[in-house]
Symmetry: C2
Subunit: 489 residues, 2 copies
């Protein structure tokens, strides 16, 4: 029913201001705060950013997205010197360098909060929203491969530019469930009782007076690619599967349903695939997370996972092909939501999510650095990892025990940057083992992490740090003289 | 109506197993996990812990409370060598020393999660619950001056011991709103639409088969005392009032209602009092927090605050006298709830709470240490500070810029322990000023914190640290060689 309605919609409907990408780009003031659609590297506008970067105006834009977007925005606009500020996430080498060198000012936000922060105007006030759609009318649009905080951006923007992308299937609308919350203090809870339920529409509606331009485009997303799983990825996945198999037996709230979330990236994707081998008999397995990655398509296709809820189809090119060829078969069991619903703290808690997220490094007490290499160099941003780690029934952090060269331990005595505290991590998993931190004192946690999870090459140095740390008084032992130079200590 | 019903209830109703404190204490196995009522230093059992401590058995108990309890538990039982483990909060010198020396293993939990953690048996499995009540029947009790996670403890315990305390007014029941959530994954949201609304009952119900003993007692709480506000407290309070006065003008979601929360302690209490001088015309001011302290009684009495919702009456002796003499006049506008409702992340978000919490120290980028002096020595525990800091519409951290002797800066370059990350702090306030961190990059935040909030005696050393930190590449600048010894750097 929903499918047949979608097919009758034209790409561009009614009286709308059609413009070329160049004309639309010219409507954006040189110092504007520009919000763009896009999450997980997909569903972002392409033609207008390209035209902006190619223009000869002197721009100092603030660029706001939900999650990762394509090189049209985070490479080209940066190379053109057009970006002064960036919120709240990026996954692009050029943008990362610009942030780390201080050329672009970056502010990081839990992505579940971006809708509220936008409406509250706490961080910025949006001048123009540039949004990719599969179809548009004079007061509505249907998003493409991601939703993210786009409904809030559209509502808050003074002016709206819509890119209608013919390379994105019109049938994507069948996946969408756009639900908008009222603001505090009279806001209700989100009336979602199951990850697969629908409570909204396929459309984002807007004030027709805000629609400044409709631009046609025809370019596919350029999503990031997942690398092939390494031996370590597979060992981590096996440890996770073993943990889950035990936990579903122990935990009576997982007796009839296991609700999972996996972080974005190659490790997350590898871990998902590994669950194909794990049997969870007599249980529904559902996914309530932020992104749908290639591995999850397999699990949906094979019926291992019943339904999947997310805010983005963060698929590789091959994954997009597979999905686009079968949108209707996936659409019944796959829902894309605004990110303030997909990542909502209360829903994560209500559904009893088991959240699995990766990290840059973790310390022996359970503090997690998920954003800054060496404590200083931004990788991507916190994204939704805090939404899930803080509110999951069980919060798992899974990572290799050493960096890919093997010469740096990712288990450290003292995290150089903390994104998730010891209060928000239950289980730590590496390729070597599983440390269950629940209910344990800091001393006990540290001993378990070193014993179960550290690489043997670093175990003795970590143990000798803990020895030094234990000589002082205190609930959490530290030797601050050698906390950062612990291998020489 | 509710009042007159309460007055007809006897202290002890129906057939219950009356026991002396000593007989009841003897029912507790020597290695039991014992959950006790009590939060904010009030509403904890007194007679049975005293009898346990005075007995001659060799005990190794795990003691679980919601928040702070009295010396009957955290001093006497520790001195008797009876405690092996403690969850998730304490506010007692003797217990603190035992934790910091490693004699007692301590595990800290966001207190909003204690109900769930108990039911899920993730941290422990409760053998016996010892609960203070103002009245008891064969399958119900009415809590006294705090509720905390007691409903979950009562439901999870194999055996229940109730202390009926005649020193606590029976009319306290009029304040209570005991609402119990169903567990995940089929749990709904909490149907509370306003901080003053009631959705439950005054009673905690239980399986009559679990009731092992009813003990009568007649001792008042021994709550901690608030010190008189210092000049710094007053300057901090004035800065907070100035911030709020500006913010209610700027923020349209505060246009008709300001919903506040204040952390526990003398500073919080001083800050509340200062709001008496601040006018919020044409706005409801309501309180949705964790504890009701003395200062809040003034605001309720004077009509500055319309209603107050919390889980504990964390009052001084004088405050208790004042409340006990006028329970009925406060009860219409004061609600005590289970802590998984009072601190519920979704309600904090839905009501648009402006949360004000203190800290041990904070770093220039906005990471907050609220639990460990010097990064190692436990003070109390995280309590509810994370529930509010993470989910508030605006998260304020307010603290003096230096320790009471003035020789140690509480604004530091790098926090030695992190409980709340830069992602969860919007505003930093000291006696010197206000730093608005919203939407700012780490470099901008650091500059604002040093300029607005640091004590002038430490400003130059902090600036020189930031100079060194800025010489390296990276989004968050640090000089790890001098991050902890920054004053000599």
């Amino acid at each position: 029913m929903r499918g047949s309605m979608t097919r009758q919609v034209d790409r561009v409907n009614g009286q709308v201001p059609r413009r070329s990408a160049r004309e639309a780009a010219a409507l954006i003031p040189p110092d504007a705060t520009v919000a763009v659609s896009g999450f997980g590297g997909v569903g972002y506008p392409k033609a207008v950013p390209r035209a902006l970067a190619a223009g000869d105006r002197d721009l100092s834009l603030s660029v706001v997205s939900g999650g990762g977007v394509g090189e049209e925005i985070d490479t080209r606009l940066v190379e053109a010197g057009a970006v002064e500020r960036r919120y709240p996430f990026q996954a692009d080498r050029t943008m990362r360098e610009a942030v780390n060198s201080g050329r672009v000012a970056f502010h990081d936000v839990h992505v579940s909060r971006m809708g509220d922060e936008t409406v509250l105007e706490q961080l910025f006030s949006i001048d123009v929203a540039v949004v990719e759609a599969v179809a548009v009318g004079r007061d509505w649009l249907i998003p493409s491969t991601s939703i993210g905080p786009t409904p809030a951006y559209v509502a808050a923007a003074d002016e709206l530019i819509v890119e209608v992308n013919r390379a994105q299937p019109l049938a994507l609308g069948q996946m969408h469930d756009v639900y908008r919350r009222s603001p505090p203090p009279r806001r209700g809870s989100i009336p979602l009782s199951y990850p697969g339920e629908r409570i909204g529409t396929e459309r984002i509606e807007f004030d027709p007076g805000a629609l400044a331009a409709v631009v046609e485009s025809d370019s596919r997303d350029s999503p990031y690619e997942f690398r092939e799983p390494t031996g370590k990825d597979e060992a981590i996945a096996a440890n996770l599967a073993a943990f889950l198999a035990d936990e579903v037996e122990r935990n009576r709230f997982l007796r009839d349903r296991l609700c999972l979330q996996f972080g974005v990236g190659s490790l997350g994707n590898a871990v998902i695939r590994a669950l194909r081998e794990t049997a969870f008999p007599e249980r529904d397995v559902v996914y309530f997370g932020e992104v749908i990655q290639d591995g999850l398509l397999d699990l949906l296709a094979e019926g291992v996972v019943d339904v999947a809820s997310a805010t983005s189809l963060a698929l590789s090119d091959a994954g997009q092909d597979r999905l686009f060829d079968n949108v209707e078969s996936y659409a019944d069991r796959t829902v894309l939501r605004p990110v303030d619903v997909s990542n909502n703290p209360d829903l994560v808690s209500r559904f009893g999510v088991v959240g699995v997220n990766s990290a840059v490094d973790v310390d022996v007490y359970g503090h997690v650095n998920s954003t800054h290499i060496g404590g200083t160099r931004l990788v991507n941003g916190i994204g939704g990892s805090g939404d899930f780690a803080r509110n999951a029934m069980i919060s798992v952090v899974a990572l290799p025990s050493v960096t890919s060269g093997g010469d740096v331990s990712r288990i450290v005595p003292f995290a150089r940057h903390v994104d998730h505290t010891e209060h928000d991590v239950d289980i730590l998993i590496t390729e070597h083992g599983i440390a269950d931190l629940r209910g344990r004192s800091p001393r006990e946690r540290a001993a378990a992490v070193v014993e179960q999870c550290a690489d043997p090459a670093f175990g003795p140095a970590l143990e000798s740090y803990l020895q030094r740390a234990g000589e002082g008084d205190g609930h959490v032992g530290h030797d601050f003289e050698t906390a950062f130079d612990w291998q020489d200590g």
